[in-house]
Amino acid sequence: MSAAAAVVAAPPHVAAVPPRVSEATTEPAWVRRSLIAVALVFLTLFLFVPLVAVFAEALKKGLDVYLAAIVEPDALSAIRLTLVAAAISVPLNCAFGVAAAWAIAKFDFRGKNLLLTLIDLPFSVSPVIAGLIFVLVFGLQGWLGGWLRDHDLKIIFALPGIVIATIFITFPFVARELIPLMQAQGVEQEEAARVLGASGWQIFRRVTLPNVRWALLYGVILCNARAMGEFGAVSVVSGHIRGQTNTMPLHIEILYNEYQFAAAFAVASLLAGLALLTLALKVVVERRVAAQAEVTRR
């Protein structure tokens, strides 16, 4: 399992309460307090203040400007487009993740390590390059450009292009979440089900899926958050047509470029709110995982 997976997969961990420790293995109080202070200052400067700044700037000009920015037609179509793009890419990546995890975790085959590295690839590709390659393939001057033009099919600078770029960027999330878990769970339960006469789909639905449902959910949550927030790759393939091909992150950039800063941060606060929701969901999921692990241990 690659290290990238480790970070994506590693939570669900549970922020455990530190066990009672003896004096010999604890630092003096002043060390403890200074370390906590250092950690909190670092996090404040780099994490908390930016988060607060988004909401503060959004509300700078008052609540009505905030609300007006969100219900403005271009903003609404940006929200719509973001939701649609995510609604298409996340289930597709989910299906892929499940298929890949099934193949990789339950079978032993040649080239497995290569496949794992290839699945990791989008993690390390710059979003700008991700957008560029799809322009190279689907753009008018690209490989399929002429054919698409002749058949009046629009991919780049339209919804399909945005969806494909989003799929690329969020490609590994679900797969990397499931694979380590399914590998750790082994094949005994599935094989037992097989012996008892279950078909492939029955095995999957009634044995595998229930075992991984929280990891699956977590992968979907992460995938969704990234899909909705992707900027670089979508910026290259979008075309920036107002009211049509601007996702929320792009719309934020447009508002920023029109000097409508409060409005830009207002829309940004929606995405920041989504991020916070994602984190809250993650904590809930972790508690369920821990509870399930407890049940299994007992």
Partner: protein
């Protein structure tokens, strides 16, 4: 094992997807009549917000047809690049002819596009001016003042913005016009660009940097931006008109390949012709963009002070030549920067 949560969750997910899908299809319902896509440059946003509905009304009156105009804005070269890559623009309204020339090279329009409409196909123009802090503390009056040590001036990236390129040629051309040699003009431009603290990717981004982030003593931008900046950021700035500056023509063109395929040539050409009409020219004047009509120029004289201008054709032999000599990779601009 019973998992009651699972079916409910699946149903909710399916329901949610269906809702979103219906959303998407609803929004895809076609607007009545024809739709045109106008691919335009960064700082033309407010202008076309007014011109598009005006054209819609005029066209309906003239022909009884419904037409909608969609807009896309970005850095001028970025937009040209997108059109070449397949962005289905019916018309392009740029601020630099070299970007439309690039589209012509990609064979989407004919090479003689500029001759099809009056004034080199440019219904409006603007000039590059210098915006300074209120009271002009650094006493900036002309281009050489921007080259002084200790002065910082914000200019958007000439490699990817028309705004930036126009500033470059304005400074260079003004030196030549004042009688300097090309070597001296080059030195002036070098000193000016050495005073730039940040190269933003668009005219608007540069304005944000200057006006909101308080960076720089001066900003070089189009005259058309000045009122907007004052309206948005308050009256903390003064405008300085240098002794001479570039006349930036804003060329427009119909993309032949696209309109012939979509069958929208009539409407597209109508849209461009509309830009020369009195109504559109007045809208431009109200947005501080210089119209071609002499009467309107006279009527809005206080917005358009007289300033000595030169065109890219006069000073540099056209944009193609200027691009090759100055802005291509390894050309004069790159050399200037490398020696900083």
């Amino acid at each position: 094992m019973q998992h009651p949560a699972l079916p409910t969750r699946r149903a909710a997910l399916a329901g949610g997807l269906a809702l979103v899908a219906s959303f998407a299809f609803a929004s895809a319902a076609h607007a009545a009549g024809t739709t045109l896509l106008n691919v335009s440059y960064d700082v033309a946003r407010e202008l076309y917000k007014e011109i598009d509905p005006a054209f819609q009304r005029a066209w309906k009156q003239q022909t009884g047809e419904d037409v909608t105009v969609n807009q896309s804005h970005g850095g001028s070269s970025k937009q040209a690049r997108a059109v070449i890559d397949g962005l289905d623009a019916d018309v392009v309204t740029m601020n630099q002819s070299s970007d439309i020339d690039a589209i012509a090279r990609a064979r989407l329009i004919s090479e003689d596009w500029a001759k099809r409409l009056p004034n080199n196909s440019a219904p409006t123009t603007s000039v590059t001016v210098i915006l300074v802090r209120k009271g002009n503390p650094k006493g900036i009056r002309d281009w050489p003042d921007l080259a002084k040590a200790g002065t910082s001036v914000v200019i958007p990236n000439p490699k990817i913005t028309g705004n930036g390129r126009y500033t470059y040629v304005a400074a260079w051309g003004s030196a030549i016009k004042a009688g300097a040699t090309p070597a001296q003009a080059r030195e002036l431009v070098q000193k000016i660009f050495a005073n730039v603290p940040v190269f933003d990717g668009g005219g608007r981004a540069a304005t944000t940097t200057f006006a909101q982030r308080d960076i720089g003593d001066a900003l070089c931008t189009f005259e058309s931006e000045v009122n907007l900046i004052k309206a948005e950021f308050g009256d903390h700035f003064d405008v300085v008109y240098p002794k001479s500056t570039i006349l930036a023509e804003n060329p427009v063109a119909v993309i032949d390949k696209v309109v012939d395929r979509k069958g929208t040539r009539k409407q597209a050409e109508g849209f461009l012709k509309f830009l020369w009409s009195d109504e559109a020219q007045e809208i431009a004047a109200r947005h501080q963009i210089r119209p071609r009509s002499p009467q309107l120029l006279a009527r809005y004289a206080k917005d358009f002070p007289k300033v000595q201008t030169f065109t890219i054709d006069e000073m540099f032999g056209g944009w193609t030549k200027a691009q090759k000599e100055h802005f291509d990779d390894g050309a004069i601009y790159d050399q200037i920067l490398a020696r900083k």
